[in-house]
Amino acid sequence: MSAGEPVLSLRDLSVSFRSDGVWRPAVESLSFDVGLSETVAVVGESGSGKSVTALAVMRLLPQANSRAQGVVRLDGRDVLKLREDEMRSLRGAAAAMIFQEPMTCLNPVLTIGFQIAEALRFHRAIGRKAAEAETLRILERVRVPAARERLHEYPHRFSGGMRQRVMIAMALACRPKLLIADEPTTALDVTVQAKILRLLHDLQQEMHASLLLITHDLGVVASMADHVLVMYAGRVVEHADVDTLFHAPRHPYTRALLGCIAGIEDDRRAPLLPIDGAPPDLRHPPPGCRFAPRCRYALPACRAEPPALRPLAPAHDVACFRAEEALADA
């Protein structure tokens, strides 16, 4: 990988799944970069294709009934063209993942020390003693208290927050360049969420890792991300840096999402604005803009043809025909 090249680069990635003999799109023509030590957040509702994107980057989609097209360059390698064994050596070493559900992501019958050390020993040629020492250091780094004693305990002795720390330790064990966090705090208590996010942020800074953060929590996005992709029904609707996205969102869907946040500091106690309707059934996607059926600003043109993602300003892309118009806020 040459200097300046992004750690992760997606070009025209499309993923579809087959069910009942029909290929249905889950993600369509997705392009974005994650630069060195950068945090990119992917935001969207359930089913918008966020997690599928993450799995496609790791090439962990079920092979039998899914297909990914386009280019995924991870650490300079074309992921979709690698042999399985080459891909295995990238997983964990070049990119590692943190999953949503820390309660079920650890093997219940193996000690956490063993599980972290296994990742280490698998990717690096180090002995058992060295791996154990390194494991201890990582556990202390993710701030698991009494790490030395807890090394030999089984996952059921750990709380959700502690397990997520262990998952982070496993993911960071081999110092990957890219960390993919798929809703890392969704399953945790609110108070624990903040601690885990702080930890992720600190470790990312320390290790100069890039972070692809998948979430539906805009609060998390605001505190963590450099750039944000907003996805809706498998397509990117808006891509901007975090300030622009929060202060000058242009896509009606982004605005609607921001309208759904409950703010405790708002003195005018603005009512929450739910988005009417539901995301489209991707078995029969609407012909035009996929958000058009729920969009209060939709024009006939929106329903006829999908708007392309186009640059509105430097580092600000929007897929909406009416992006330039000053639409009356809801």
Binding site: R88, A93, T104, N107, E118, P145
Partner: protein, 293 residues
Amino acid sequence: MTDLASVPLPPRRSALATLLRAFNANKIAWVGLVIIALLIFAAAFAPLLAPYDPLEQDVLDRLKPPTWDHLLGTDYYGRDTLSRLLYGARVSLVISVGATLIAMAAGAAIGMLAGWRGGRIDALIMQAMDMLLAFPSLILGLMLVAMLGPSMPNIIAAIALTSLPAFARIARAPTIALKGRDFIEAGRSLGFSDARILCGHILPNIFPEILVMGALWLANAIRTEASLAFIGLGLKPPTPTWGGMIREGFENILDSAWLAITPGVAVLVVVFAVNLLGDGLRDAIDPKLRNEA
């Protein structure tokens, strides 16, 4: 969040402690364990414990009822029954334990592979297993030994094959359940290969079940070995085997009943003990270890 470090933790329970607890709850399992321990001891030290050479014939002392010289009497050739029983325990143990271990290893591997791969491979493997299972184990063992010849490796292989399907089944179902679990996906995301996930992550999860199945099928293996020997498909005479002793004793059952009864009781007691042990093991892993893990 409760800081876990500040909460006093309950004392850590090892697998052994869990086992002991379950055995104490099911006290009769101890009986099984003690009998089996005695049997292993007797088999291991047979040359020291046996009062006579098990093959030594003494035509003057034929068909003697139990006396102080021959605690369990002598057979048609004047051989000491107790000595033959002790040496017979070796054969019985080696064959049944060997066959069960082979069936455990091969059956678990086959079952895990079937469950992991799924689809056509799974269907094919499990059909084959069902075919094996359809034969009563004695009939299948009899067929195989008759075809291959009654040597120790052949008898072990035949008995192993008859118990293979049970292990394949017990390994397959939990593999299917486990392969969709998040920690398997997490392992993949760390770059682990299928083989590593199967051996390092799935096997430790299903091992307790396989072990219990092994204990229960060990009793079956002992019985099958004795049955094969009884119908003349055991190790060739004069090697002492329990089944063979029952058969030889059978010929003189009217005047020297102890010759058939003592090895028969030995088989009975050992099968009973192994079953008790298996039950104890099952209790150990059934609900408790599950909650612990």
